[in-house]
């Protein structure tokens, strides 16, 4: 019911952004959520990330693109703590988070998803969703026995959130399905919905529409726009050019582990270096 007006404003806002920034946005844009500076990672002789430097400003949907092997996923793993960088730094809201454990980074408000949806065997969709919320009292063993009331209260609240967000994502009919029995695209939706339950400040999406049919991909794009409207900052990797060009601004282009350029979708589209990188870059 409330879907169409939300969608409407989302589309309006993104058109506005594409045209030029609104004054309201300007204030927010001065703040940087994520600073990646000279990030470097070598696997033997291969330099997967070569002094990559870029910022993600609050309130943006920043795209990260580049040809295969450009180091996009490596950068994601370095930012989210799954890899330890050989050099460089990652700052989250101004705090240095370089090389700290993934769960600590997540606790500071950076949540990521994975390229291939992770399957949770033996859980229903809503159970799998309930892992999302952070700092649940029920995650502390002794509180299960000393404060069962608080645990139950939070679980009820979380359950209500799960139902609400599944409805917003229009997948509430899947709530009690086994989490492994849904389609790849639905898994991506569930992953995005679950990540939102963690109330992230910045959400890193690794190829959110890879292998997803166009209808579902549009739905995912709508959801990302809607969540963006609600104040979440996004950094996303995607190979689907039309998807990322319509969604992201600015776009960071990676090539061979370092940042080739950064700009609006229009600038990226017309940049010769980008075309070269994608076509093999023989001229350099």
């Amino acid at each position: 019911m409330s879907e169409s007006p939300t969608e409407g404003t989302a589309t309006d806002a993104s058109t506005e952004r594409a045209a030029e920034e609104t004054p309201g946005d300007d204030e927010e844009r001065s703040e940087i959520v994520l600073e990646v500076e000279n990030l470097r990672k070598e696997f033997g002789a291969l330099v997967a990330a070569d002094d990559a430097t870029f910022d993600v400003e609050r309130g943006t949907i920043t795209g990260l693109i580049g040809p295969n092997g450009a180091g996009k996923s490596t950068i994601f793993n370095l930012i989210s703590g799954f890899y330890e960088p050989d050099a460089g730094s990652v700052r989250l809201n101004g705090d240095d988070v370089t090389g700290i454990e993934p769960y600590k980074i997540a606790n500071r408000g950076l949540i990521r998803t994975f390229q291939t949806p992770r399957k949770l065997e033996g859980m229903t969709v809503r159970e799998a969703m309930l892992i999302g919320p952070q700092r649940q009292p029920g995650e502390s063993f002794h509180k299960l026995f000393t404060a069962p009331g608080a645990v139950g209260e939070r679980e009820r609240a979380n359950m209500a959130d799960v139902e609400r967000i599944l409805e917003e994502f229009e997948i509430d009919h899947l709530a009690r399905q086994p989490a492994t029995d849904i389609s790849g695209g639905q898994m991506k939706l569930v992953e995005l919905a679950r990540a939102m339950l963690a109330e992230p400040e910045i959400l890193l999406l690794d190829e959110p529409v890879a292998g997803v049919n166009p209808t579902l991909a549009n739905k995912l794009a709508d959801q990302i726009r809607r969540l963006h409207e609600q104040g979440t900052t996004f950094l996303l990797i995607e190979h689907d050019m039309s998807f990322i060009m319509s969604l992201a601004d600015p776009i960071v282009v990676l090539d061979q582990g370092s940042v080739l350029m950064e700009g609006t979708p229009e600038e990226v589209r017309t940049d010769e270096r980008v075309a070269d990188a994608y076509l093999g870059g023989g001229g350099v």
């Binding site: 994975f114 892992i131 029920g138």
Partner: protein, 420 residues
Amino acid sequence: MSTLTDPRGYWGDLTSEERGVAGFLAAAVLVLLALMLTGVLNPTYFLFLFGLGGMFGLMSLGLNAQWGYTGLINFSVAAFFGLGAYGAAIMTASNSPIAGDMNPIFGLVLGLILSAIVAIAIGIPTLRLRADYLAIASLGLAEVVRLIILNEGQWTAGSQGLRGIPRFFEGWPVLPTLPEALPQVNIEMIPGRVVTLGLPFWRQLLNVTLVLTFMAGAYLVLRRAHRSPWGRVLRTIRADEDLAKALGKNTYFFKMQSFVLGCLVMALAGVFFAHFQLFVNPGNLDPTTTFYVWVAVILGGAGSNRGALFGGFVVVAIREGPQFIEQLPPAFLTEFPPGFLRDLGFITDDVLFELPSIAISPGPLQLLLVGLLIILIMRFRPQGVLPPQRELIWPDAVDEDVRKRPDSGVRDQRGGDGDE
């Protein structure tokens, strides 16, 4: 409560697996009762076997909390069982080199503390790594613990073992003398076959009560934990540890908790064993125990507390069953009239005919049956007999889900005149 007020509805709520297991259990109870009342199976001996079953059930519950919940591969079940047994024995045995002759409660505490310390010590280096490393380390740990107990005679009395362990309820009010006070009961269902329930029976019944208490305690704690957000994090780690990390869960800490919890339950089985056999020696840490417990958990279904208990009892039935079989095929299939009918005295002692059969020794048959069982499970039911049947969500939250409307109405009312 719903079981009592609405038995039919309760039965209707069960899944087909649950009905199958319930039916199987009911049949087993009937057969065992019949065997005991007719004097074929000695009731005291049955209680002894039941005690063993409970002990294995406890160990399976412990392993299930590690492997079934979190995916931790622990091959030192026997070691943690042994630590529990030796913890209890060192405090209470009459020939204990250190303490001895103390109240069994102290033994219980020492057994649990010992196993927790060893669990943490082995967990610190291995739980940060992939699951395989714990498996390898625990394989070695089992042997290390056994050899320490065997060789450190100044603490453990070495290979001669610790004897003179009192019963668990020694020093409690009423309970230690209760078996003596109970009368001898004679049951004569079939003329000439008197089944006597005397002192040994009541003593064994007290043991069974102890193991049932331990089992109930462990089961209730584990069930609550399994359905909680805590258990959900463990299940996420089992399915995909990276995902749990990415969602902000300190997986190392959760794995440690799960590991220690499981080891404590295994130690509980050991404490029971010490007060059950009244004697422990290093041979009780035999690594084959570990593999029987693994079979029990796989049979029951990974992640299922009830399945683990069920598996524990089935494994004991398979371990102890072959000693009742003297030949294959069993006599009642090859002789007519079958032996048990002649035993009951209905029929004269003449064997009308006898088919060829081979004499059997129970040891190899045990192994054969266990091997067969594993193959059958893997082939036909890899998920186990009774895998988790329902969503694991904190009960309050699901109830709320079902009767949403009336409850929200009540909450609105409270909000109106409440002071919070």
